[in-house]
């Protein structure tokens, strides 16, 4: 890791429903527009009002891998938030607090800046609604950003509400900005210079990247049922998909959502749904139908914390088991997991492709931390993932059409209603090639074999392209095999560990089922010890690796509702290396 001039972490904490998240998002956008790299994290209570929201933003002039371990600037907007987070502020860091809401504080070794945000907004500007702008101005000033960065945001945000509102917010922004200029005696420029703003970068979160990827991937039909933290996918698609000629339906529940998706896919559309754990549970029966009747379907599961209703707004990687195994009896499915925000854009296209080509359900495991992680990514390459179309039969083989023809790849050409003389009945009952119900042992074995061959084919031909290896496995003391949203944190932890002299490599398979066993075993064979870090309680991926490969990994399962911390993982890497 080169030394760099800009790399700091700002944490905002305040009352839920009071605009902390939008303050964070505005700050993020403002700094990103100046050309810095950003990487964020948010966590908030399950209720609409009350409780503390936390927004963390890391800013740097180099590519970021995590939202950082220790806080340089802590902005406390309510008392509870102050108490819960002040311990994270590093010595030498700065506390900015709303002196209207948080009692006065002295802190050794920290710079402390009180600012009466509400008073300024109400007294000076004449509108409590401008509090957020006061705060934005203050933070921008503190980190050393020009006030114009805030003005641009204010203008964009309030344009719709008329010039007067925009002006009020400009005033508020300046008031906060100036207050810090005048009252802070520990101003240090945190932002270094930026050569040139790179126009080819986006500031975007995982859910948004997935939406753009799905649109680019030819999504034509979306049905869903609201559920945190997946809802924004449907909300983002609703106004946009029709512009692309597609349809968005809010269904009566998740069962209906997937039913509609299967109907649309059967009728020839690229279709998907997105949900989280509880909704995924309800989809299990029809995912099985998709597999058995061979209907393409993409199901995104944005994992959240806790079993049952659990921790709806927290993060976890706890749905791997149900994604892999949530099926009575056995039918093939593909399970994929994007590892970064950028990945969300590409992986969903692959998911749509694989579903179409292989005629089966593809489950995409994202999670709350990735879904809401807003960060800078290179502008996506629209040419990278070529479109795969459904394999269709020749038209008009009247009456002779074997919908479930037994083929070498396991893929049988699939007709679409409307195609002449290829009418067939799609069915979840065991059937012969012509889709007639058939119960013989021979047929069962032939058909199940055919369906599972699709996974073999996929694995053989495409598994490698979904594996990413970081570092040099040869002779690494610790080899990490991870999955999903932890990749950035792990890469950062690797850098930290290497600085302490431990050689580490990491492997991330983005396709988890079928599992690229050969590549994994090869990697594991090169490293001394294998560590599997994941955000859950029982170590699901580690157990899965044990069941499918000859690897005997050390499980590092941490289930807290929060993403892993690079420091913490580094410690574990070192512990294991020295074991």
């Amino acid at each position: 890791m080169e030394t760099s001039r800009t790399d700091f972490v700002v944490r905002l904490a305040g009352e839920s429903g009071e605009g902390v998240l939008s303050l964070g998002e505005m700050l993020t956008t403002a700094l990103a527009r100046l050309g810095y790299e950003v990487y964020t994290f948010r966590t908030y209570p399950a209720e609409i009002k009350g409780g503390t929201v936390l927004y963390q933003l890391r800013v740097a002039d180099h590519v970021l891998l995590s939202y950082g371990s220790c806080v340089d600037v802590f902005v406390a907007l309510n008392e509870e938030g102050y108490h819960d987070n002040i311990h994270s502020l590093r010595p030498g860091g700065t506390l900015i607090y709303d002196s209207d809401g948080v009692p006065a504080h002295e802190l050794p070794d920290r710079c402390v800046i009180p600012i009466p945000i509400g008073t300024i907004a109400k007294k000076e500007i004449g509108s409590a609604l401008t509090k957020n702008m006061v705060a934005l101005g203050a933070v921008l000033r503190y980190v050393g950003a020009p006030v114009e960065a805030g003005e641009q945001i204010a203008e964009q945000t309030f344009k719709r509400k008329g010039e007067e509102v925009v002006q009020k917010n400009f005033q508020a922004l300046h008031a906060g900005y100036n207050y810090i200029s005048q009252h802070a005696d520990c101003l240090k420029p945190l932002l270094g210079g930026i050569e040139k703003v790179n126009p080819d970068r986006l500031v975007i979160n995982g859910n948004e990247a997935m939406v753009l990827g799905a649109l680019h991937g030819g999504l034509a039909f979306y049905a869903g049922y609201p559920i945190t933290p997946a809802t924004d996918i449907m909300e983002a698609l609703a106004p946009v998909l029709p512009r692309f000629g597609g349809i968005v339906m809010q269904a009566e529940d998740e069962i209906a959502a997937l039913g509609m998706v299967l109907g649309a896919a059967y009728a020839g559309k690229r279709a998907m749904t997105a949900t989280s754990g509880p909704g995924f549970s309800l989809m299990v029966e029809q995912i099985n139908l998709a597999a058995q009747a061979e209907i393409p379907a993409v199901v995104v599961d944005v994992q959240r914390g806790g079993a049952s209703t659990g921790l709806p707004t927290k993060t976890a990687q706890g749905d791997l088991n149900i994604a892999l195994y949530g099926v009575h009896n056995e039918a093939p499915r593909v399970v994929m997991a994007p590892t970064s925000v950028e990945d969300c854009f590409y992986l969903i296209q692959h998911a749509l492709n694989i579903a179409e080509r292989y005629q089966l359900p593809v489950i995409v495991l994202s999670d709350q931390s990735l879904a809401h992680r807003r960060c800078t990514i290179p502008k996506p390459d629209l040419m990278r993932v070529p479109r795969w179309e459904r394999i269709m039969p020749e038209p008009g083989t009247n009456g002779e059409y074997a919908r479930y023809a037994i083929t070498e790849t396991g893929i049988s050409p699939m007709a679409i209603p409307g195609m002449p003389a290829l009418a067939y009945t799609s069915t979840g009952i065991e059937h012969n090639e012509y889709s007639d119900p058939t119960y013989t042992p021979e047929n069962l074995q032939a058909m199940k074999g055919k369906r599972f061959r699709k996974l073999e084919h996929l694995n053989e031909h495409y598994a490698e392209q979904f594996v990413r290896i970081w570092g040099e496995p040869d002779d690494a003391e610790v080899g990490i095999i991870g999955w999903g949203s932890t990749e950035g944190v792990i890469r950062e932890a690797m850098q930290l560990a290497e600085r302490e002299g431990v050689r580490v490599a990491a492997l991330y398979p983005k396709m988890l089922m079928p599992l690229p066993v050969r590549i994994i075993e090869e990697f594991a064979g090169k490293v001394k010890k294998v560590l599997v870090p994941e955000v859950n309680f029982t170590g699901e991926f580690a157990a899965y690796l044990r069941s499918q490969t000859n690897v005997r990994p050390i499980s590092y399962a941490r289930d807290t509702g929060l993403p892993l911390d690079p420091e913490e993982v580094k410690e574990e890497i070192i512990r294991i290396a020295r074991m």
């Binding site: 500031v203 975007i204 680019h216 512009r243 069962i255 209906a256 109907g263 799609s426």
Partner: protein, 293 residues
């Protein structure tokens, strides 16, 4: 956009006969099962409408009745138990040119499938939904269904059912269905006539059909229905919601025919309008990137 092409060959307009819709698969129903009557009426209706089998989809769930799609040469979707309506909705929205007909049992539709029924009705999705109502679970060998009468004895209700029966017609009407009818499998011509109207009707059309299960239902038999079914007279105004509700209230004798028929924009129409209004020729994801810059 990955829109699969609907390939349509230039063919002579032909008049299809009922038998032309029959597939090679022999129905597996018990001899005498009411579902044969429904199948035959459907063949007749399809023939009268000269439906193109390539542009027709039968969607079913699980049950004796739900095996019907296999016996017809149209496209078919034999899904899981109770999910006919979401699947049919997805198909119709995906391709409004298709004629989409749901076919299934009373257990499939009114028990496990109940969660979707009022929603399909209020959305007024343009599909026809034929329920072969034998007032029992056939395929699982004779348990009580939501349309079984109070006191009905089965192996799961040996002391007689203590639950009131569902009135599917009233439910459909108050939920917003725009076409609600009842048929009887032993009146195939009348049923065919109703089916023709139902399929032609733009919007959600429920046709609940008494279709006796000769193997397990020892109460609602052909004998039982003798004299207990009458055709709705012409004097009935099917656009009058409350008249329809009152008609649907009647039991023994049961009215058959069209109880309710009104016009309301369909879901697929309205979704098509939205699509059309929003549609931007050659929209680009590139353009959307700007929001994030």
């Amino acid at each position: 956009m990955a829109e699969a092409q609907t390939i349509s060959l230039q063919t002579q307009p032909i008049q299809r006969q009922p038998k032309d819709y029959r597939s090679d698969l022999e129905p597996i129903w018990c001899p005498g099962c009411g579902d044969y009557g429904v199948l035959n009426a459907l063949f007749k209706a399809m023939s009268q409408l000269n439906l193109d089998p390539d542009k027709t989809v039968l969607v079913s769930g699980i049950g004796c009745s739900s095996r019907l799609p296999g016996f017809v040469v149209t496209y078919g979707f034999h899904g899981v138990h109770g999910r006919i309506l979401p699947v049919a909705t997805g198909i119709k929205l995906a391709n409004p040119e298709l004629t989409v007909i749901g076919v299934g049992g009373d257990g499939d539709g009114y028990s496990i499938g109940m969660g979707h029924f009022p929603h399909a009705a209020r959305r007024n999705i343009d599909i026809t939904y034929i329920v072969m109502n034998n007032q029992i679970y056939g395929l699982t060998k004779g348990q009580t269904s939501p349309t079984s009468s109070t006191g009905f004895q089965t192996k799961t209700t040996p002391f007689g059912s203590v639950e009131g029966a569902i009135n599917p017609l009233q439910l459909a009407i108050v939920s917003g269905a725009t076409f609600v009818a009842r048929g009887y499998s032993s009146m195939p011509n009348q049923l065919a006539k109703v089916l023709v109207e139902a399929i032609k009707h733009p919007g959600f059309a429920l046709v609940d059909v008494f279709s006796p299960c000769v193997t397990f239902n020892r109460v609602q038999t052909y004998d039982y229905f003798k004299g207990k079914v009458y055709e709705i007279p012409d004097t009935h105004d099917p656009t009058d919601k409350f008249a329809a509700l009152r008609l649907a209230e009647q039991e023994e004798p049961f009215p058959v025919g069209i109880l309710y028929r009104v016009d309301r924009p369909t879901l697929d129409e309205q979704v098509a309008v939205i699509k059309q209004q929003a549609y931007t020729p050659a929209p680009s994801v590139e353009q959307l990137f700007r929001r994030y810059q």
